[in-house]
Amino acid sequence: MADLRLGDLEVAVLEDLWGAGADHAKAVHGRLGGRRGISLNTIQSTLERLYRKGLLERTKEGHAYTYAPAMERERLLARLIEGATAPVAGSDGADTLLTAFVDFAAEQDEAALDRLEALIARKRSRDSEGRG
């Protein structure tokens, strides 16, 4: 899961099913196919890929499968965030192509954070006294 990769179409299909709840390939194609100019076959193989990745569940109804999201958006996002931030911890953060506001993988030192908080508070009160 740490290495979960999703293409544009896969995300579009997931979005569609998050909205629709559960549906079969033809219905998904009806909503996405025309707009994106893609065939029913492409939608079917995308649904199959998402099912294999564990992101969709399916049940057989007659000759066709009905697909439903296996997890809510928030849970998928949480797993993607976990996957995206995990390598930062293992590779000293140097090989990722991002800048993060704070390094979420760095070890916490509560005592140091408390000390910094006290410094900020002191400066804040000095500043407001200076203005007052």
Partner: protein
Amino acid sequence: MASLVLILAAIGLVVAAATAGLSHLARPAVMGRLVALPEGQRANLLLLWAWLPPLAGLLAVAAVLVPSLLTAAGLMADHCLLHGTHHSHLCLLHPGTTPTVPAAGPLLALMAGLLAGGAAWKGRQLARAGRSWRTLRRVAAWERGDRTRILESGRPVAATVGLLRPTVLVSRGLLERLDPPQARAVCAHEAAHRRRRDPLRLALARAGTALHLPGTRRALYGALALAVERAADEAAARSVGDRLAVAEALLAAARMRPAAAPGPGFCEAPLEARIQALLADAPAQGSPWRGAGSALAGLTVAVLALSPQFHHGLETLLGHI
């Protein structure tokens, strides 16, 4: 011709290695001076320093080729024929006068293969590192159209992702746990990273430092990472109009981190350095390219000025080998 190219490549590599060695020796003194500079200027100079070994290697090759190029442009007399054939020549125009290196072709192919292999490996590593973030960006893309995307997740995330068209990803969970000035500070900080294309700078530094010695490589990258964060902190402070709000946002975000992750990680020093800098008065602002531009111009002028001596010195040296 293969011999000439091989000799030029060897000259480039020797000069690059010498520059890496000198960088290692001069590091403590130079780092000490860089710390005093405004962060934007410091970040640019550090990026230039990261690229100094390959740059010096290329400039050395250029210095060797300047007489041939000037001759071809009709700006100089054909020096190698004037000098006669008492020693061999590093001349593009008369390949027959170059010293012959045995098995130059296969050696050159080996070097090119190693270089291409190394570049491909590095490229794959970088692509793999960005892959999960690209997926995250896609999932977020449907929620808001502009270049700041909100992740509907309770987990704290604030990051700028992407090399040429960077995107800011901020999670709802982070924004909701900050007060409004702090949330504005986080968004302004990330917007500054996006405008400055900091992910690209870091990737470029990563590629450039490949020829530095390991200790210098880590130190340069660490110093650059801190400099780009400081530059974004200052931009956020100017945008929000409250330096302490940025410091408070940093502290609040640091407290939201999940429990200690495995691996080395950064120590608290960068966070402490950033907060201490925000507690001090705003630094003076200067042109961020000051220093880097003049250093590059100086290097180019030096190469042009010293080219004849360098060129003939090498020819004499090769004549003795």
